[in-house]
């Protein structure tokens, strides 16, 4: 193999085939039982096929040894999605009493190339679980690192949530959400995390207690970017299970009115107003005036009812959802069948 290439990983450059390694001389590799005419056959490289043949041998023999452990590492490098190999590795870690902090580092290295992979994250969770509260900072740091590259990484967020619940570390989480939202107010994952914190953090008084400050926060976000669906959804979420508060909170109706009156990016203001009306809110003349001022052409003059009018407007300004708004109109509370 050519030497001097800095691009090639050390492992690949120096990799010796297992059949040439004396420590594996006693093992007979087990070929894959694909049968004579397999479908979706993969043209494995020689190295890949060999690693898996040796893995099958130790797996079938249930050999729980240090060499089996390092073999699983090799197999994982070739295919980080092989859940059987990960599972066997976990059995080996347990039996061989491997330092799990080192295992965390191993996972981090693999994740660098494979972050969107269920097996890696599940493995990380199992290892961190065993480490317990000791792993807390490592898990929060690790997920933060991944999120700094991809702030919406689904597995990273799930893992972070698991870590907070199992290991703790809630204190700074709301601030972390605020940081992320400052960088990107459209990051729905960060909004979701915010909801997670206010509803589950033992350091916070719960949804009801946090509602006031969160409403203020969210309304500021809406004012800055009224086209941002995340903030409107979050606002609605703050009143989950308490429709009367949702309907009666003047801040909610007034932000709708404010955005409507701006005549710009008012789609969610309208849909939120519709939602309020369907939950019993009775809009005053200011709302009618604001809607009138939108000067939407060709509106159905039959829509004397403000809710029907809103649906008609939405049909026009949100054409991709025209059928949805038509259906909503037909389901309005006052429309007797």
């Amino acid at each position: 193999m050519a030497s001097g290439s800095s691009e090639v990983e050390e492992e690949e450059q120096e990799r010796v085939m297992l059949r040439d390694r004396p420590e594996w001389a006693d093992v007979t590799p087990v070929p894959q039982d694909d049968g004579p005419c397999p479908v979706v056959p993969i043209n494995y490289t020689e190295e890949f096929a060999e690693v898996m043949d040796y893995f099958r041998a130790v797996y079938l023999a249930d050999e729980r040894s240090p060499r089996a452990l390092s073999l699983t590492a090799e197999a994982i490098h070739f295919n980080a999605g092989n859940y059987t190999v990960w599972h066997f590795r976990r059995l080996l870690l347990e039996l061989l009493k491997v330092d799990l902090h080192e295992e965390l580092e191993f996972i981090e290295r693999i994740a660098a190339k494979n972050s969107k992979n269920y097996q890696i994250w599940h493995h990380r969770r199992r290892v961190a679980e065993k480490l317990g509260p000791d792993a807390r900072n490592a898990e929060l740091q690790f997920t933060k690192k991944v999120l700094s590259v991809d702030a919406k990484h689904y597995h990273a967020w799930s893992h972070r949530q698991w870590a907070l619940q199992a290991l703790g570390g809630w204190e700074d989480e709301l601030d972390y959400c605020s940081e992320l939202l400052e960088q990107d107010i459209f990051n729905n994952s960060a909004w979701n995390q915010r909801y997670f914190v206010i509803t589950r953090s033992p350091f916070v008084g719960g949804l009801k207690a946090m509602r006031e400050s969160e409403v203020l926060y969210t309304i500021k976000a809406i004012e800055a970017y009224p086209e941002n669906e995340s903030s409107w959804k979050y606002l609605r979420g703050l009143y989950k299970g308490e429709t009367t508060s949702w309907v009666n909170d003047p801040q909610v109706s007034s932000i709708c009115l404010k955005i409507l009156s701006s005549k710009s990016n008012y789609l969610f203001a309208l849909s939120t107003l519709l939602d309020l009306i369907c939950h019993g809110y009775q809009p005053n003349q200011d709302f009618r005036d604001a809607i009138e001022a939108l000067k939407i052409p060709d509106l159905d003059s039959q829509d004397l009812d403000i809710a029907s009018m809103i649906c008609s407007i939405l049909e026009k300004i949100d054409p991709i959802r025209v059928n949805y708004w038509i259906w909503r109109k037909s389901r309005l509370p006052h429309v007797a069948q």
């Binding site: 056959p41 043209n43 890949f48 980080a80 459209f186 995340s230 059928n323």
Partner: protein, 443 residues
């Protein structure tokens, strides 16, 4: 928190605008060309797709090693796609597939990602769906239901979730794959469904969509899985359906395709996950209307497990015939009443033509196969789910999937028409019916 406005676009905005410009470029080009050329552009490249798919069935390059633990998925993505296109696979390949999947079977039940690997719920789902798609006694009889049931029971967790494999991850996907398989094979029982509803319910987020685990973000894939599973266990009424509908329909954007999560990018595969969720919801109007009516009365109805004899899901109604102990008499008198008085939308709640436009103009690759979005490479997974979504679109106005859709329902030449699917399992309807006959018998 003072400076919320900033002059430079955020990452979300930048990414979104990049995709929009690529997509709109395609649509603008389309708008400027003559009708003949437009027709050509809208054509589903059947032959090319079949070529891509059949090739994959016969051999895959070394870069597919990363899918070495997912081979039944490759079988399903390919064979289901071919079936959607109305084509069949030659007998030899069919036999080879049944043979291969046999080798993926674990002696104690379930199918693994490849020969010699541990059984896994997802690959079990893929294998079962593949065998159903192939059809025929040999294929269907190759499934050992007793052993499979044992595997499902072992994967079941007390909290209602399922593990994907021994000591594996628990999530809504696992629930769906387990329940779907049990349902279609007619081995679903109370032991399997117990607490599943609780678990999935706990995964519905404040946004209205469903997450993979409690607390995570609402996501199209998990929303489909959660919704389908709830329907199959007869507990869909426990979900907040109006919010679920609204969340889902808002996932379709100006690019015409669906995104997986709020403020994320369009992706062809969500044509099925999100489109499919809407297609399911469209058959639940009586329940949705009930929930909406409850809302406007601002009275809270005590939660009860409502029997869903009114659903169009054959599978669900068969479940309820298997001696459910709960008294369902309370709901019987309302079903007929709701049925007559229901406003039934003939039109899909999402924009079917727009979605077809995205799939045909943006997701098709010239050399065959379909993809996430322009600029991304084709793959079998996206081919499967883009085509599944396309089929859903074409049949979205049909009250009876057996009657061919009107030409207006099919974007492009009528030859674009695909086979209809059963939206709960995502197998071609005709094959599902055969499987139903085989596993459930005459009803």
């Amino acid at each position: 928190m003072d400076e919320m406005t900033s002059s430079s676009p955020t990452v979300s905005q930048r990414d979104q605008w990049m995709v929009e410009s690529q997509v709109f470029q395609i649509y603008q080009l389309f708008a400027t060309i003559p009708p003949n050329a437009q027709s050509l552009m809208l054509e589903l490249q059947r032959d090319k797709h079949i070529e891509f798919l059949t090739k994959g069935l016969r051999h895959l390059g070394p870069n597919f090693s990363v899918l070495d633990a997912n081979r039944p998925w490759l079988c399903y993505w390919i064979i289901h796609s071919i079936a959607l296109l109305g084509e069949s696979i030659d007998d030899e390949l069919q036999d080879n597939t049944v043979e291969f999947l046999n080798r993926c079977k674990d002696p104690n039940g379930g199918f693994a990602g490849g020969p010699g690997q541990m059984p896994h719920l997802a690959t079990t789902y893929a294998a079962v769906n593949t065998l159903i798609t192939l059809g025929g006694d040999k294929s269907l009889a190759s499934i050992n239901r007793d052993k499979l049931y044992g595997f499902l029971r072992r994967m079941k967790q007390p909290n209602g979730g399922f593990r994907m494999h021994v000591e594996g991850e628990i999530d809504v996907r696992a629930c769906y794959t387990a329940i779907s398989v049990a349902s279609v094979l007619n081995i679903l029982d109370e032991e399997l469904t117990q607490n599943v509803g609780d678990y999935i319910l706990s995964c519905q987020t404040y946004e209205g969509g469903i997450a993979g685990e409690p607390g995570s973000e609402a996501h199209g894939g998990y929303t489909f899985c959660g919704l389908a599973a709830m329907i199959l266990i007869g507990e869909v009424n426990r979900l907040d359906l109006p919010r679920l509908v609204e969340w889902t329909v808002f996932r379709q954007g100006k690019e015409c395709g669906f995104q997986g999560r709020t403020n994320k990018l369009v992706d062809g595969c969500y044509s099925f996950w999100q489109g499919g969720a809407v297609a399911l919801l469209q058959r639940l109007y009586s329940i949705i209307n009930k929930q909406m009516a409850e809302v406007s009365n601002i009275s809270s109805i005590p939660e009860e497990k409502v029997c869903l004899h009114g659903t169009s899901s054959d599978a669900a109604s068969h479940l309820w015939h298997e001696g459910m102990s709960e008294s369902c008499s309370a709901d019987f008198k309302n079903i007929g009443y709701n049925f007559i008085n229901d406003w039934r939308a003939k039109d899909p709640l999402f924009h079917s033509i727009a979605l077809q436009q995205y799939i045909l103009l943006c997701a098709q690759e010239q050399d065959g196969g379909l993809r996430d979005k322009p600029g991304k490479r084709r793959d079998h997974y996206h081919t499967c789910y883009c085509l599944s979504g396309l089929s859903l679109c074409q049949y979205s106005w049909s009250k009876h999937p057996d009657s061919p859709p009107l030409p207006k329902a099919v974007l492009g030449p009528y030859s674009n028409l695909l086979e209809p699917i059963h939206p709960l399992y995502n197998v071609v309807l005709e094959r599902y019916r055969e499987a139903h006959e085989f596993f459930v018998g005459g009803s």
